[in-house]
Amino acid sequence: MELWNIFIRSIFIENMIFAFFLGMCSYLAVSKKVKTAVGLGAAVVFVLAITVPVNFLIDKYLLQPGALKWLDPSFADVDLSFLSFIMFIAVIAAMVQLVEMFVERFAPALYASLGIFLPLIAVNCAILGGSLFMQQKEFTHVSEAIVYGLGSGIGWLMAIVFLAAIREKISYSNVPKPLRGLGITFIITGLMAIAFMAFMGIKI
């Protein structure tokens, strides 16, 4: 039940894009066509679902205050949490490389469709944001971290596909010239975020 709650919350209520604006750069740049949006979204789901649990384990067993106790009781008051940024980003960059190699070897069709997006994901704010929020939420078990990573990824995928669909349609309408492109995209995203606020406060 608790897991369901985390899953639904991370998709609808704490949506990476509509509530925290994470991953906006690629969100705006790659949302011109639905097809590419689905590709990037799928890659984000994939990488988030892997990196959040891995970073959770690293945080829990290496970085938290007193986390090194399992190694030796005398390490009980070692606090490495100031290293978390550099650890997380290194893990993410390494994971993205690994995932890229695996996908290339075992699922060439998927690799061809993700293409350039996979390496770019290392610098997508949504990925690092997922890990940092995971650290703040103080999950107790790795399953919660997996569900949270998966849910945030799906929320991101949903948001970018919706926006891409709207942008495909909007190219047929008469937008004021200075508003074209970036300006109208911002306003659409804002309106979508307002719509998503309807989910606020839902508890399962």
Partner: protein, 209 residues
Amino acid sequence: MAKKKKWKDLLVDPLNENNPITVQILGICSALAITVKLMPAIVMGISVMVVVAFSNFIVSLIRNYIPNRIRIIVQLLIVATLVILVDQLLKAFAYDVSKQLSVFVGLIITNCIVMGRLEAFALANKPIDSFLDGIGNGAGYSFVLIIVAFFRELLGSGTLLDKKIIPQSFYDAGYVNNAMMLLPAMALITLGIYIWVQRSLYPQLTEKE
């Protein structure tokens, strides 16, 4: 003389005509969530300026020694180190603000402004030029942040830097703060309107179809 002018361009261009947020579309990720109040926006702007300037400088110093294939990881590590420094400094000297900024300090690492400027400028230019480019882009970023935060704080809570601006007599007469402005969604719309105004004033920035 020519050199002086170039340095001035490096500093001034990103403020408006080549603004990282509204024209280059970089660094929107963390730009919006921290603009509810003016104070965090200013602190965030300064932090980003420092990180961009110094990472540009360092990467530019070692640009001829970084192997091309692993340059992204090298850059990320340099940026991450600088961000940790900024984070620790903020925790030491401005604890309240650093609590408000929460994860967004950490997210400077993946702020596209930093990577964007490193890739586009620092890898091909001299250290001093890169440093100035970093300051300029950081300033352009702060500029947009401060404008958005100014309107959101003024209309949303009737204060600026936590000082009351809207006089009490207005409230007595029935004026109500627009709580909408505090919602994340309004940051996007405010920025959209800012871009609209900017592009109406400078038609050359309008996107070509």
